[in-house]
């Protein structure tokens, strides 16, 4: 069961976000929508990284599959959102299950490289399959249902979907399944000796991560009214990985913080300089050198020091 304090804090955050359109500008609303989508994306990746101890370099693949599938089903096939969105999520999860089946046979860097290879394959499909995906022109002009076509409507839609997605991930990460994943992360050999089939568990974690990554991607595509091959590119996988590391992999909410901080930094940096990649490099340097547990780890350390009598 979640701690009462955590539940109240989450409720307050959701409530404050719900009030944002009353006070905020269009700019603030859009930026918050983006942050929420990235937060879900980063959290989904952390099921693999923080909870299972498997670093994926190809998580953008499932984001892109969710995004393209939802866009195509809505627009090319005219499906209603209530069908297109779940179908897109299921498809992302299925592809993750197929890819994961092969990836979890490997560990560590070999695992990471294989996830990258499959992600490049997905990018290749998006690029080559022009009739369906629009190729390098992107898939544009997504048909949006009336009620969420307006940016405020879309903000509320995103809030509800992301909150539900985060709640589901919270339950999964804190379940018996989630605790067992952490044991695998900590010591996969020992996990085998208590009767855990570590490969199957890692496979399941991979599938869960891909499924929720697909949900984030579907929200992203509709928000931008289009999907582009860059969304499947390895740089996108690296970006979400940095969000996770920046926030901190050893806490549930770390990736949410990381996603918010990184996306806001990127947006503001881009307003003043064209040097975002340089800034990103510096951020990465700081994470590796001084923030191995991310921002959450830093907060915990500061608290521990302050709490000392």
């Amino acid at each position: 069961m979640p701690q009462r304090r955590d539940l109240i804090a989450s409720a307050i955050v959701v409530l404050l976000l719900a009030l944002l359109p009353l006070a905020g500008s269009r700019y603030a609303i859009d930026l918050t929508t983006e942050v929420m989508i990235y937060a879900l994306f980063a959290l989904s990746l952390n099921v693999l990284i923080g909870f299972t101890g498997n670093i994926s370099f190809g998580h953008a693949a499932y984001f892109a599959i969710g995004g393209y599938a939802c866009a195509i089903l809505l627009t090319t096939y005219g499906w209603p959102l209530a069908l297109a969105l779940p179908a897109a999520v299921v498809l992302a999860g299925l592809v993750a299950a197929v890819v994961g089946y092969f990836c979890v046979r490997l560990t560590q860097i070999y695992f990471a490289m294989l996830t990258l290879a499959f992600a490049m394959l997905v990018w290749g499909v998006a690029f080559k399959w022009k009739e369906v995906t629009g190729g390098d022109d992107g898939f544009t002009g997504i048909k949006m249902p009336e009620i969420i076509a307006h940016h405020v409507g879309y903000f509320y839609f995103t809030l509800v979907v992301v909150a539900a997605g985060i709640a589901a991930l919270w339950v999964i990460c804190h379940s018996a399944f989630g605790l067992t994943l952490v044991a695998i992360r900590e010591n996969s050999v020992r996990a085998g000796f208590i009767g855990v089939d570590t490969r199957h568990m890692r496979w399941a974690a991979f599938t869960v991560a891909g499924t929720f990554g697909g949900l984030a991607g579907a929200l992203f595509g509709m928000y931008h009214r289009g999907m582009y091959i860059e969304n499947a590119f390895w740089t996108e996988s690296a970006n979400v990985l940095i969000m996770v590391l920046l926030g901190g992999i050893y806490s549930f909410i770390g990736p949410i913080i990381g996603a918010a901080v990184l996306h806001l930094l990127q947006t503001f940096t881009n307003q003043y300089t064209p040097y975002w990649p340089t800034v990103l490099g510096l951020i990465l340097l700081v994470i590796v050198m001084v923030l191995p547990d991310g921002l959450i780890g830093l907060v915990r350390r500061v608290r521990a020091r302050g709490g000392r009598p």
Partner: protein, 250 residues
Amino acid sequence: MTAMLSIDGLWKSFAGFVATRDVTFELLAGETHAVIGPNGAGKTTFFNLITGHLRPDKGSVSFEGRDLVGLPPQKIVRLGIARSFQRINIYPRLTVFENVQVALIAHEGQQWNLFRPGRSLHRQGTQELLELVGLASEAEETAGELSYGKQKQLELAIALASQPRLLLLDEPTAGMSPQETGETIASVRDIVKARGLTLLFTEHDMSVVFGIAERISVLHHGEIIASGTPDAVRNDPEVKRVYLGEHAHG
């Protein structure tokens, strides 16, 4: 008594180095059996072959009539064989409590439950196991920060959580203080008795070995050179020459 574990003609080599040489061995149901031998004799390798961590090159291992060769560790533990490790093998960033709790979750097959909160499961069972090995007051500490001796006790609790019928302990007291050794051995003996376990263990401390083993097998260069009651083994000239004699001098 009948054989619980029968091993026949077991071989294992690492890049040409033979670590287990034609080992034939029987473990009787309910007995407490020690495997002793000098460093590098192949004791840990022997345990690894039984528990599926290593696959033998040749030979058979059968547990209550079932062939274990080729089964992965997670299948073997489900048949009722659990082990502890000579080198600490715990989940360092989990709490002591969670280290045991997750073993109980796995034992019950609940690792596939995506909804039930993990921390609410088996609280009482975990507490009981921690009390049994004397770690109740450290329950909420991070396992990796415990003293070496306490981590060894945690090893034991994790192995017990799988509710084995056959327990394999690889040097359960290595690195412990004499007092911790005494307490651990006393609790192992009590647990084995209370649960009717069959115990196979390795140990360098001869007072422990001769104190609790009902039978002893001696490994030397991967071979079993003697097997029998403590008295028989103690008086075996070959054993005296290669192992016990050297201990007496050291």
